[in-house]
């Protein structure tokens, strides 16, 4: 297990990294499409009453239906329909007033019925569109907007799990019949960063509307990518399908690797084969999983045990769920939040993107602003820089923060009003995020960390520093500008970082000039 480090966002001035996009981009066009399986947040399975609890003991979340015991019938879980429709609406899809379920046949030990119930012919929703921001600090200079179309959104069952041993294969049906939303995106993306940004946006949305936990490590969100390249002006190339991608950064890396691999293959005169490749996140490469030479005929057939799924909307009030009511209950979505943060709150595009990327920080930000009138930009800056530095140092996640949002507000208040300086702020934050027993103001008081802002006191301090550092003063006077910094440092050290350094700067300059 590698340690994950949080990115620290130095934003002002922005680091002038250049895009690491392949230099072949003039010659090659890249086409990337995603297929995402999102496990619906539901207590029970799509067609049975069995639990969906993760990591339950083997074969305990299994209803008779999940084992395909003869005579059992599917009963559609209403919560899953709600989640499906909600997701469709959040992704601007056209919800089908009537959709159908189909059987997709293939033999597999962990699929007891010999078919999967899915929605192939008439899915729950079609024709969606999602706009999202592509911005990876260090990769992109500035954020840019991308757009992807959603071909279809369907409800379907998950399969079970086969566990292969040397001589036997064991089957765990806990996952069999777990509800999934399958999202098929049009191949509108051009590289791994866009693909990762799309997945990230999708995660924000699904978490926001609570239809999927999006825990990729639990398999709750599975991303397959289709990648092809072609020379500009030529027809689309043969595509490969990438599976086994376990994280958002994995999406970016896998697609990037695959594009480069395909370019290498083609430039050395080879041909890309239509195959499924697995992403090896340790070796950082894709490897062949299976080729698609044998085309499976799934012998789709309408599922006769389920009547058409009707969704009420507009004048039609009859349906399993009501799309209009669900639409009204959709909370503010990430893109809307970013717009608001930029427009109403006045944050930069970068800040708003990064804040929305971290839901936990975002809620701290929003709550803190609600509680008291403080400088929003300063707050954002503190959260994204100072706080992140601390979290990184302590190897913590924002989820681990114990204090309420107003502790940050209070600390910012102190900073804004000159009661403390930025260094003290960091010391305070470092304390309160893990021990919220004392509020920031009280803490500053107890630890005697109030900033020294009194002119006379500062002047006295500065005079003392000058007296103690005559050599430095001399050097400065001889034109060594850097020496001034040393003097400032000495003041800071003497006051244990409590001095109002802006004031000290003026005082020192005045005093040195006087000498």
């Amino acid at each position: 297990m590698l340690f994950r480090t949080r990115k620290i966002y130095k934003l002002s001035p922005l680091k002038r990294y250049y895009s690491n996009k392949t230099t072949h981009s003039n010659k090659w066009q890249t086409v990337v499409g995603l297929e995402v399986h999102a496990q619906i947040n539901s207590v029970s399975k799509l067609f049975s009453g069995a639990s969906t609890k993760f990591s339950s003991p083997v074969n305990t979340n299994v209803d008779l239906f999940d084992g395909a015991i003869p005579g059992t019938l599917p009963v559609l879980n209403k919560r899953c329909v709600e989640a499906g429709v909600l997701t469709a609406l959040a992704l601007n899809c056209r919800v089908s007033p009537v959709s159908l379920f189909d059987r997709k046949h293939y033999f597999y030990a962990d699929m007891p019925a010999g078919y999967q119930i899915t929605q192939q012919r008439l899915p729950l929703a079609v024709d969606g569109e999602l706009q999202f921001q592509v911005y990876t600090p260090g990769v992109h200079k500035t954020p840019y907007k991308a757009k992807v179309r959603i071909k279809q959104l369907q409800l379907e069952q998950d399969s079970g799990k086969s566990i292969h041993d040397t001589h036997v294969t064991l089957v765990d049906l806990n996952r069999a019949g777990v509800p999934l939303i399958e999202l098929v995106f049009d191949p509108d993306l051009k590289d791994g960063e866009e693909a990762a940004a799309l997945v990230k946006e999708l995660i924000h949305i699904l978490r926001r509307i609570n239809t999927c936990s999006c825990k990729m490590e639990e398999g709750a969100l599975r991303v397959d990518a289709n990648v092809s390249i072609n020379r500009k002006g030529e027809a689309l190339g043969t595509r490969t399908e990438l599976k086994n991608i376990g994280s958002v950064r994995g999406v970016a890396a896998a697609v990037k690797y695959e594009i480069e691999r395909q370019i290498k293959v083609k430039e050395s005169g080879g041909a890309v084969v239509n195959e499924t490749r697995a992403w090896d996140s340790v070796a950082k490469r894709t490897v062949v999983m299976r080729d698609k030479e044998v085309v499976q005929d799934y012998r789709f057939m309408p599922e006769p045990n389920l009547p058409p799924l009707c969704v009420a909307m507009g004048p039609v009030k009859q349906g399993t769920v009501n799309a209009d009511e669900l639409k009204a209950a959709i909370p503010e979505l990430p893109e809307q939040i970013r717009q608001r943060l930029q427009g109403e709150v006045g944050l930069s595009a970068e800040h708003s993107i990064i804040l929305v990327n971290d839901f936990c920080l975002l809620s701290i930000f929003e709550e803190a602003l609600q509680k008291r009138r403080i400088d929003a930009k300063l707050l954002a800056n503190v959260l994204l820089n100072d706080l992140n530095t601390i979290l990184n140092k302590k190897n913590l996640e924002p989820e681990h923060i114990k204090c309420e949002a107003d502790y940050f507000g209070e600390a910012i208040d102190l900073l804004q009003n000159g009661k403390i300086n930025r260094t003290t702020l960091r010391i305070i934050l470092e304390e309160v995020i893990l021990d919220a027993s004392t509020r920031p103001t009280k803490l500053v008081e107890e630890w005697g960390l109030f900033q020294i802002s009194d002119e006379r006191e500062l002047r006295k301090l500065c005079e003392e520093v000058l007296g103690e550092n005559e050599k430095v003063v001399k050097a400065y006077k001889l034109g060594k500008v850097k020496a001034f910094k040393a003097l400032m440092g000495a003041v800071a050290a003497k006051t244990k970082n409590r001095a109002d350094m802006a004031k000290c700067d003026a005082i020192l300059k005045e005093l040195v000039g006087n000498k």
């Binding site: 005579g71 046949h105 007891p112 005929d297 012998r299």
Partner: protein, 495 residues
């Protein structure tokens, strides 16, 4: 006492309430009959110990005046393709020879809740694929009307042949069958009992091991229409566990006494297309006689046309095989049922299991169905068959503008001899046997077969009444009316 079993449910229930008989004696009698009638092979499993236990429970209820219903203590039989908790449910197949379900089909549960006592699971064609009850790993079920011939025996019809024979012999009062293309009505017709195929969606399919989900319905076999009504009232109605069961309250059917019924001005249609080439003259005559009789009794009998009837059987066959191929995919030897001794690979295990576990009829239908469902064939066969299915349903919709009920043959003749029956293969035989019954399943409408008279050979001849969706009250009223007039000489009345 023996004769009690030959009576009807209402009368028996009264005797039980009065205390002139008790359920323990009644069930013992029924089990004795099951042994006597073993020669006809109606049962795969006789549930003796369970039946005795339940008869004792029922007896106590009667003593404490707490009988659950008219069916309390009444012996019944259930086709062996309905799941019964802790009682093996074989579908007459090797595949499920040792399959013991852990749950009751809704139909079974409702009967048990009403106090009915299961005496046995009845024989059928393997997975209900057939119309003779000849393709069972437990051997064929024989017709009871004429026995001991040097030419062999007459078939019971099928696939619910075991249920029909159990009822015809008076081993029990009622039996549950299933009806996908005529599997309840066909053996009812050949065995001389009442066979009801309810409207699709009126009775839950949960626990009925499926043949064709979109056509299967639990069926009821009894000797009288009144008994049929009692059973239907017990098992019909919405089941949240079957998404295709109709979500509306079921109003219990109450039929007046036969002499209070009138069929004045009732419009009855005679669909010309049901008069096919293979129709026997005896059935045709019976059909004519009853049509005339009904007219004489005041009904308006008219000829109607249902132009797509002749295309129904081939479409039925395609849809049947498609769903069969899909439904049978679960029998892979992994989770339940038979597993072949083959461990070289998972694929070989599937193949060997399915080769041994299914008979040829089942395997053929699976192969044909998979062929029809291939993406290159789907439109040519499945979609087209669905379109024709719609036309057939439309035929029924249209005909209800003219008439309220249809009178047709159930089967094209009386019961065939076993050796004649098996001279044709299963597919050709079904095409003949199901000709008049399967359009009803394609459309979902209810139908009932009622015995009319005996043929010259001494075998039952029956006719079918078909009504619009959920018209069971009217359908069964007319059936009762006809039953009262024709006074069919039931097999049990021979004794």
């Amino acid at each position: 006492m023996d004769k009690v079993l030959y009576g009807n449910i209402k009368m028996t229930s009264r005797l039980l309430v009065e205390g002139s008989i008790n359920t323990i004696d009644l069930i013992n009698l029924s089990l004795k009959k099951a042994v006597e009638n073993k020669k006809y092979n109606p049962f795969i499993t006789v549930t003796q110990s369970e039946a005795l236990q339940h008869s004792e429970d029922s007896c106590k209820r009667y003593i404490s005046k707490g009988a659950k219903s008219e069916l309390d203590g009444i012996p019944i039989a259930i086709k062996d393709n309905f799941c019964t908790r802790n009682i093996r449910t074989t579908c007459a197949s090797k595949m499920l020879e040792n399959f013991i379900p852990t749950y009751n089909a809704t139909v079974c549960q409702r009967l048990f809740d009403a106090g009915a006592v299961l005496i046995g699971k009845t024989n059928l064609d393997q997975f209900a694929m057939g119309s003779g009850t000849v393709d069972s790993i437990y051997g064929p079920t024989k017709n009871v009307w004429i026995g001991n011939l040097k030419e062999g025996f007459y078939i019971s019809g099928g696939s619910s042949g075991g249920s029909a024979v159990a009822v015809a012999t008076g081993t029990c009062f009622a039996a549950i069958g299933s009806d996908t293309g005529g599997s309840t009505r066909n053996p009812a017709s050949y065995c001389g009992v009442v066979g009801l195929k309810p409207t699709y969606g009126l009775v839950s399919r949960l626990g009925l091991i499926p043949l064709v989900n979109s056509m299967d319905v639990p069926g009821i076999l009894t000797r009288t229409v009144d008994d049929c009504v009692i059973v239907l009232n017990t098992i019909a109605g919405f089941d949240p566990k079957d998404s295709t069961s109709v979500n509306r309250p079921f109003k219990k059917i109450r039929l007046p006494p036969a002499n209070k019924l009138s069929i004045k001005n009732l419009k009855i249609g005679i669909p010309l297309e049901y008069h096919c080439d293979s129709l026997s003259s005896e059935v045709l005559d019976t059909w004519n006689d009853i049509a005339q009789l009904l007219e004489k009794e005041g009904a308006i009998v008219k000829k109607v046309s249902m132009p797509h009837t002749q295309y129904s059987i081939v479409c039925y066959s395609i849809l049947n095989q498609c769903e069969v191929s899909s439904n049978m995919a679960r029998y892979d030897g992994i989770e339940f049922g038979f597993r072949a001794n083959e461990e070289s690979s998972t694929e070989k295990l599937y193949a060997e299991t399915r080769k041994i576990g299914f008979n040829e009829v089942v395997r053929n239908r699976i192969i044909a169905g998979n062929y029809f469902l291939l993406s290159r064939n789907y439109d040519k066969y499945f979609t087209k068959a669905m379109k024709v299915r719609r036309l057939i349903a439309n035929d029924f919709d249209n005909v209800w503008n003219e008439v309220q009920m249809l009178l047709t043959p159930t089967t094209l003749g009386d019961a065939p001899l076993y050796k004649d029956f098996i001279s044709k293969n299963n597919r050709d035989q079904c095409a003949l046997q199901d000709y008049c019954t399967q359009p009803v399943n394609m459309a979902g409408v209810p139908a009932v077969s009622i015995p009319i008279k005996l043929s010259q050979k001494g075998l039952p001849l029956s006719l079918q009444l078909i009504g619009r969706n959920f018209s069971e009250p009217m359908l069964l009223a007319l059936a009762k009316y006809i039953e009262n007039i024709v006074q069919f000489p039931h097999f049990v009345n021979k004794f």
